[in-house]
Symmetry: D2
Subunit: 331 residues, 4 copies
């Protein structure tokens, strides 16, 4: 019973089907009919003009998006525990040609407009200090917390006031949308670009960068090729995205993962380090307790010395979630 | 009847099967059992200690390999019509942090040791000129020409003499091996790293970087992550490579493509701009002749004003090749 | 009697005086009164709104200027023998974050609009090929040839048509101006940025980047600091530039160097490989002849196997020039 | 009476003299006799094999040194208030091609081996997190604190244990040496490279990068040219360094600045935020007190809301220091 991560979960059957159907002659790169149909499909979802690029990883999505907003001599403000800061092997430094990450603080790995101000206000407006060019927020956050529309709006207002771009890392965008139960457009708010994640939610190897500013997408297309991310059989990535959007599979999968997490959360009580809004649980437990859980066949990561992280996925079985809930309750 | 390129051809059934079988729980990134088994598998093929990294594109493979050999202030010698110079959107400049490509000349888009000397000998050994750090050759070349073992050996000797790394772009390595009918080890010669291409030869989205120097692979692993090329469901890339190697499918596919090309070549006579050794044909023909061929349902690219390029693939049907051969003969 | 280069010649007494006078308390970096006065001074010279940044080297000037015009995924068109391509140790690759130099051909190391078209017209407008973002020309060229106003105008027209930036490497701008005997504004034409060289013309360590587009200068100010080129005692660089502009010393010095070159050229006849328009002479002569000249105390560089390069400077003595002229005539 | 900074102070007469004497024909770049004599001169000072490169700024010195120790995918550990982090406009990101700065904490802007361990020990040894490649310490620190030989030795031991390079930013190395009253070799300890600063200590525009590992210097020479920092009239930079070393002028100047600081410190009592070991004073005082001091003609920077920073220089007059001391005492 694996709760290690959603990042290596199985591929949804509908995704497999779409990929198989895509295995017919078509134009290479992103000139195939499936890739060409992505913009329109996302327009419908976001009720806003979109330009969509597929890539294979969230790291590539985040960094290609940010590279359109921050010049090499600038900086991106993000949370100090953001994925781009902690887990992408320095990819922002590579893709942004040495631009800096400026680290903000905030509960649940979420930034607020005030937290961002605390980072950028002390920066003198001169050439000796690196100036902020963009902000990146994560929906849902590294701790599974979800930004409410008004929180995003406040950050957007600050970004506009200071002339900064705004990017959303949506590796678990579906989980946030399932939690908020709001249209995708409100879950994203008015960001300039969204890394819309599918791999953690049932796809195999396709994430979408959704640009809400056509000019940014124009730059990103060159940068994607330059980064070796323009696959020649791109139709197989486009097919995955279409399958995930078809009939709102992305939402259904995310709801399923969230429900499993909620089931487990129900038995965690005071042990929870963060409210469970998406599909991740951070649970206080001693080494001995963790050993006990592992002894019962549960897989998960330690989170520091005194906690464990459990992640549910689109295909977490209800029975497994219940079993884990029971086991935790029994600790 | 498509002869546009092999880069968007169908995925081989055995590759599909292997991918489906890989759809079970395993560790993320390259810690799954399939990824972990790649080194040994390639060791067997090349009869030499190998360290293997999968990536999704040939551009990423080439540039990650070269980045381990050339420092940012150095240069890579390649043919003036090499893929890294002409068709990768400046990826070498990105991955090598501004290192330079030094362009050599040579028949059939092949370099010789002399051609490389002609490039590097005039470079003064001082800080004002960019110094060569590595050489990159393409097997088979952009014009479908194949390096013989002694040609590679001569280039290797020069590389050793000058302290340069040696990389082979093997986007069509299978086609070269099928033509030479020699063991993979001799087709690669003693290069330091090989971009072993599978996407043009029946895979979907997996290329292998085969390092014959462990130290280089150590660097490349960090750089792959940093470039956003470490997919979390990497087992699906590893599965493709295993399928291609299983029973030498890579060779069988390449032989099939080469045979189709040979069939067509047989009717081209004086029209051929380059001897056909792999799966590409560069055929002199007038605009009117091209129009005639297209009228008969043949798809291909113009090659300048007075020629056409035809590329066969692993799945080119014999009947289609014969039809094209007949049509060209009838021009 | 040195004719090796103008790049290490003595510092003009007026420059020394200005530097000594600058040795009094003032604000650091470029906030001192001398630095702040540069814009206005250049405005007067070029009869056009200017934003001026000092730097210590021509390489820094060229690359900082170009970095404002070409994005990392783009390219700069220059002559295949341009200084940025041949002699700057790969600095453009560094400053432009891997952008490419596209090499054009042309007599006397000068580009023409047609030569530029020959480079950029074959580039397919897609993401696989690096797109041109800017053009760089050298006034006077590496072979001491000077662009006429109408030649620059033709290149400007092409740049506008294609949306490209236009930069002028004016390491020997003074020599070009002295030859043309036209106002600086016509010698520069309507480029977007000029590297206005003083070091080869009597200064010690100050070159000016003159931006004719304020927006470009804004970027360059950050990039200069980021490149470690914002000296804290910048007043000593500004002082040099003021001294060179005062009473048109830059023109007087260049006229003197040009006159010395003309004196020598008068005795070279058919030996000249290029018409002498500035302060460089490329003179056909055998190894034996070069040995003879060196035996008479003349210092110069070999230029390939069968020629020599002589460079005059602001302080070349008339007698020395005459002696060299006589010696060449006597060969 | 200026106490704003030492970075724009006057140039010492001996430096002027040396520069004037250098104004005679010699080879360009760093091939002149003065540049060539630097290694030997520093060997004598540090009693250790040295390779010396001059550059115009401390930022260039720091970043060129670090670029030889940290690969683009790695990181440099420094204090969170280090100059490279706070005041160099992102230059490390540029010169190190996107490598990261990992920020440690410590009193007086000094790092300890423990503080460095606190930064690097939590980093998982995998490709997802940026690995440390080097450490940079500042002698004297941003708060004018000086590392004792045993403190450096402890950091060196840690660096060796972890395979990290060790760099010292010695923008105020002279002030540290004057304070410690120890040989330069002990003030530097066994770092791999030292940015030996002269500009804040009486020079005009010359800093030395002293490499104690020849292999690092070999790389840095190419990188210096590539960064546009190889001045053609380099002899004027070398001359400054020789003048500063001659008769230990660097030490005498630093002692003078330190003495002035000590004079002022004597009257600051409890107001001092940091012990005064070099030439900087951080003094608690209210806005009203600062206004009072400014009213008496003292120039200095505010340091946050409740403090002021005073910096003495080699040429601070004793009378001025005494006047400031008196004024502070009278607050």
């Amino acid at each position: 019973m694996q709760f290690l991560s959603d990042n290596a979960a199985s591929v949804h059957p509908a995704v497999w089907d779409a990929m198989r159907q895509a295995d017919q002659p078509d134009a290479p790169y992103d000139n195939d009919s499936l890739s060409l149909a992505l913009d329109e499909r996302m327009n419908a979802l976001f009720a806003r003009e979109c330009a969509v690029l597929w890539v294979a990883t969230g790291t590539a999505a985040n960094c290609l998006a940010l590279a359109t907003m921050a010049q090499p001599h600038g900086a991106v403000v993000c949370h100090e525990e953001a994925h781009i800061e902690m887990d992408e092997g320095g990819a922002p430094g590579f893709y942004l040609h040495g631009a800096k990450l400026l680290l903000g603080q905030g509960e649940g790995a979420k930034l607020t407009a005030d937290a961002i101000r605390a980072v950028i206000d002390p920066i003198r407006d001169d050439v000796h200090q690196v100036q902020p060019h963009a902000i990146s927020i994560t929906q849902a956050s590294e701790y599974g917390r979800v930004y409410r529309p008004e929180e995003i709006a406040a950050i957007r207002a600050l970004a506009d006031e200071r002339g900064l771009g705004l990017h959303m890392d949506g590796a678990r965008f579906g989980n946030a949308a399932a939690f908020l139960d709001l249209p995708a457009s409100e879950v994203a708010g008015s960001v300039d670009a969204l890394s819309f994640g599918f791999v953690k939610n049932g796809a195999m190897s396709a994430e979408a960068i959704v640009f809400f500013e056509e000019g940014l997408a124009d730059v990103a297309r060159y940068r994607r090729k330059r980064a070796g991310h323009l696959q020649s059989k791109g139709r197989f990535l486009a097919a995955q995205i279409h399958a995930m959007l078809e009939g709102d599979l992305w939402l259904a999968n995310a709801r399923s993962a969230n429900a499993a997490a909620a089931e487990i959360a129900g038995s965690c009580g005071e042990r929870l380090m963060h409210p469970v809004e998406a599909n991740e649980l951070f649970v206080r437990c001693t080494p001995a307790e963790r050993e006990a859980l592992r002894g019962q066949g549960f897989g998960f990561y330690d989170w520091g010395a005194d906690a464990a992280r459990f992640v549910t996925a689109w295909n977490t079985r209800e029975a497994d979630a219940r079993a884990l809930a029971t086991a935790i309750a029994a600790l």
